[in-house]
């Protein structure tokens, strides 16, 4: 059975991160499994985890005024899920549901914030990787919006 630091090292988000830091982050980590249909987190709840997706798929859903839920985005294997734990008020803006059997490593938010604040080098490295993922999500979400407008660009610039 592989230890959590070894599992983290295999994930693209942590590629190139030093062994010492991986061991440090593993101290915040737990292996978790979600069945299809099970919610990892719900809109409005306290954001207590940063999820490293190992296998499976997670749908990010928004609750609509009419009472239904719509899927905004899906995260696949080797992605990371959840931003709301990083800044106050630490509440999930949307819900995350396992679309199929899903295995994640959950990093406890309080532990993770503490480690990044006490070691600025780790904090910088982590935030760089995090920001890169968020910018890509932003780009993809903007393109989804354009798709809704019926625009299929050759170039989006």
């Amino acid at each position: 059975m592989q230890t959590l630091d070894v599992l983290l090292a295999k994930h693209p988000f942590f590629e190139g991160l030093g062994e010492d830091y991986l061991k440090l982050l593993a101290g915040c980590a737990t292996n978790q499994v979600f069945e299809a249909g099970q919610y990892l987190f719900r809109e409005g709840e306290e954001a207590t985890q940063f999820y490293i997706l190992r296998h499976g798929r997670i749908a990010i859903e928004a609750h609509t005024p009419t009472g239904g839920d719509i899927i905004l985005y899906t995260h696949d294997e080797n992605d990371v899920v959840g931003w709301s734990w990083l800044f106050p008020p630490y509440h999930w803006h949307f819900s995350g549901r396992a679309v199929q059997l899903t295995r994640v490593i959950g990093l406890d938010a309080v532990c993770l914030r503490g480690k990044c604040e006490s070691d600025p080098v780790l904090g910088y490295e982590f935030l760089k990787r995090f920001s890169h993922k968020v910018v890509r999500s932003l780009d993809q979400t903007r393109l989804q919006l354009l798709d809704l407008y019926g625009v299929h660009p050759v170039s989006n610039r």
Partner: protein
């Protein structure tokens, strides 16, 4: 170069030590943009991190129709308000602007030379953590606003 005191006025630069503020001030110039001016274009190398002092800036995607390549259209994707950074891709690999920024009103802008700022971050972990945290906050806010737009459009 600008005065460090100018940077100190804004929450974006709070948490930085005096020496770091001085170093960033050395990399910064103040500029103005008239209404309608394109400040930077999407898909271009991101060599400057911008910070809006006064006025407003819109972010656009410029798309080209696949059946009619000479037909270009602007799609508004967001707005920058005073006290906010933009062109933040200058601090995030692959250092390429993802949208086009256009002054929607006359603006006063700070232009921070991104290569120097990234070097400062590599050398000074304290400054790096503070700045990257603010960058992350800005881009997360934009993602959240865009997801809300998407949810509203699909509801």
């Amino acid at each position: 170069m600008v005065s460090p005191e100018l940077l100190r006025r804004y929450p974006f630069f709070s948490g930085l030590e005096d020496s770091h503020l001085k170093a960033i001030a050395m990399l910064t110039q103040e500029a103005s943009s008239e209404k309608g001016k394109v400040i930077f274009e999407g898909d271009q190398p991101a060599s400057i991190l911008y910070f809006l002092i006064e006025g407003s800036v819109e972010l656009h995607y410029i798309v080209v129709d696949k059946h009619n390549p000479q037909f270009r259209k602007d799609f508004y994707v967001g707005e920058i308000n005073p006290g906010e950074p933009f062109g933040i891709s200058a601090m995030i690999e692959p250092f390429c602007y993802t949208a086009t920024a256009i002054a929607s009103n006359p603006c006063r802008i700070l232009q921070i030379e991104a290569g120097g700022l990234r070097s400062l971050c590599e050398e000074e972990s304290g400054a790096a953590a503070v700045l990257m945290r603010q960058i992350a906050r800005a881009v997360m806010t934009r993602l959240h606003e865009t997801r809300v737009q998407l949810a509203a459009a699909r509801a």
